[in-house]
Amino acid sequence: MILGEYATLEAIESMRRKLGLDLPLGEQFVRFLRNIVVHGDTGSSIIYETSSRDLILDRAPVTLLLVGMACLLAILLALLLAILAATHKDGPLDHLIRILPAVTLGMPVFWVGLLLIMIFGVQLRWFPVGGAGEGGLDRIYSLTLPAITVAFSQIPSLVRSLRAQMLEVLESDFVVTLKAAGIPGRVILVKHVLRNSALPALMLLGVNTAYLIGGTLVVEQAFGLKGIGSLLFSAISNRDFPVIQGIALYCAFFVVVIGLLVEIASGYLDPRTKGEP
């Protein structure tokens, strides 16, 4: 299949030997595992002949930067919107913010990307239409639009959960006690309400990391960025199996690491879970 329809018998046979497909299945699997454990590599790419690990690592920075920027944007915007919505409960602002998830639920990430390109890239020319810039400040500048797109897909669910959590905390007994004791509203909001609401929102972010990465891969395609996403899609069209497995493995690894960080942070934030008798 890879060699195309007219491959001769020998060519197919030599390819099989090169790929190790001629070995018994058990041995193939062992070699595959040893490869991963030893040098984190799921075999060399069929197309580019280099090990998939190197391929992924050299494309990773763009994607990681994009995910980082998107996360930062998502948290800041979600926090701002949630505070506004919770403090102005049932006001015009609150309704507006509550409509947000409904409208954005049906928005495919790449479509949002295309819209932003059209508005900010083509019409207003604020941002470059594609490409990841030459690195440093220029890269951040050119990744802003994609980052906004990815963040956009995360914000609604974050806002909804943060707002619900803050409302519950604002109505809880200890906030009433603090108000009765005359502590200024601002202090209560920052020191007590936010801290108690941060934990569930953090958990949600941890759970959504997988969707975040999925979204990033797709947005790279829409913006033509040379990150892991485009590597994946080219690997798909060329049936480049090892690379696909490699990307899947690295994404899963990244998600597990994020999950671990969230667990540690929540242990630190909430003393109840820390070493209880």
């Binding site: 639920l105 049906g106 495919p108 059209m118 083509v122 999925g214 891969l217 798909i236 696909i244």
Partner: protein
């Protein structure tokens, strides 16, 4: 000294009348149903509404702007955009609905078993959910689509593998808290076998919340189907699909922006309808 028992003589509105009155009083649920009904109607009546066949090419009328003849203009092969849009609704909505059935049932059941039994059942199911959730959804869809070939089959299989997780997680949490409720303890004291308690007592209390999640999750699945179409590994052409329409329109984005925009808005419309119904149902059941 016993206090007199207040009489319960309130006119007994019939069950149907009561539920209709309740739906009427919930604007979000009402509007959600109306919007969805319109969408389904348009999809079903596509042959009647649209004068053109979706894949009927007309080389003479390529990339025409919206006109009285072609309400949304034509695409790069001269096909009527409006026709493609409503026929695409058929394929995408059908897949969305069908692909949700099995994951919904499996997810709800496994969630109840994990939440109710706890211990080994809970550990096993949580292990399964956590491993699957670690892989980004699109990645799994792509790999499965790659293995089983593009098209609907790939989407169904993937969603069978992954779609049940969101229900299992919600239902597991709910069942774990419901399990502590006293009416469950009363059922156990009565001697009811666990499986009867789960189906008779737990299911009716878990279902409402699961249906609310179903609404939002259907929109998420619809977006996934469209995304796969955009990436070219979803529904194979020529069957019309919103995703492929968007990717076909992308090259002309600066001049003919509506080619890509229109299918997107269709998905957004479906998203709004579904989330309105979801919010409405949540309020309805919370108030009962």
């Amino acid at each position: 000294m016993s206090s007199a028992q207040p009489e319960l003589r309130i006119r007994r509105a019939s069950k149907l009348e009561r539920s209709l009155k309740r739906i009427w009083s919930l604007p979000s649920l009402l509007w959600g149903c109306i919007l969805l009904a319109i969408l389904i109607a348009v999809a079903l009546l596509a042959p009647i509404i649209s004068p053109y066949h979706p894949s009927e090419q007309n080389m003479a009328a390529i990339l025409q702007p919206p006109s009285s003849e072609h309400w949304l203009g034509t695409d790069q092969l001269g096909r009527d955009l409006f026709a493609r849009l409503i026929y695409a609704a058929r394929t995408d909505l059908k897949i969305m609905a069908l692909a949700e059935i099995v994951p919904f049932c499996v997810g709800v059941f496994l969630g109840m078993v994990a939440g109710y039994y706890g211990k080994w059942a809970d550990a096993l199911i949580t292990l399964a959910t956590d491993t699957f959730i670690a892989f980004p959804f699109y990645l799994i869809v792509i790999i499965v689509a790659f293995v089983s070939g593009a098209g609907e089959k790939g989407i169904y299989i993937t969603f069978m593998l992954v779609g049940w997780i969101v229900y299992a997680r919600v239902v597991r949490g709910l069942s774990a808290s419901l399990r502590k409720q006293e009416w469950i303890a009363a059922a156990r004291t009565l001697g009811l076998p666990n499986i009867k308690i789960i189906l008779r007592h737990l299911l009716p209390n878990v279902l409402p919340q699961a249906v609310v999640v179903l609404m939002t999750d259907m929109a998420v699945l619809l977006v996934a189907i469209v995304t796969l179409g955009y990436l070219g590994i979803g529904i194979a052409p020529p069957t019309p699909d919103w995703g492929t329409m968007i990717s076909e329109g992308q090259p002309f984005i600066s001049t003919k922006w509506w080619l890509s925009a229109a299918p997107g808005f269709a998905v957004v419309y479906a998203g709004i309808a579904l989330s309105l119904i979801g919010d409405g149902l949540a309020d309805l059941w919370r108030r009962k």
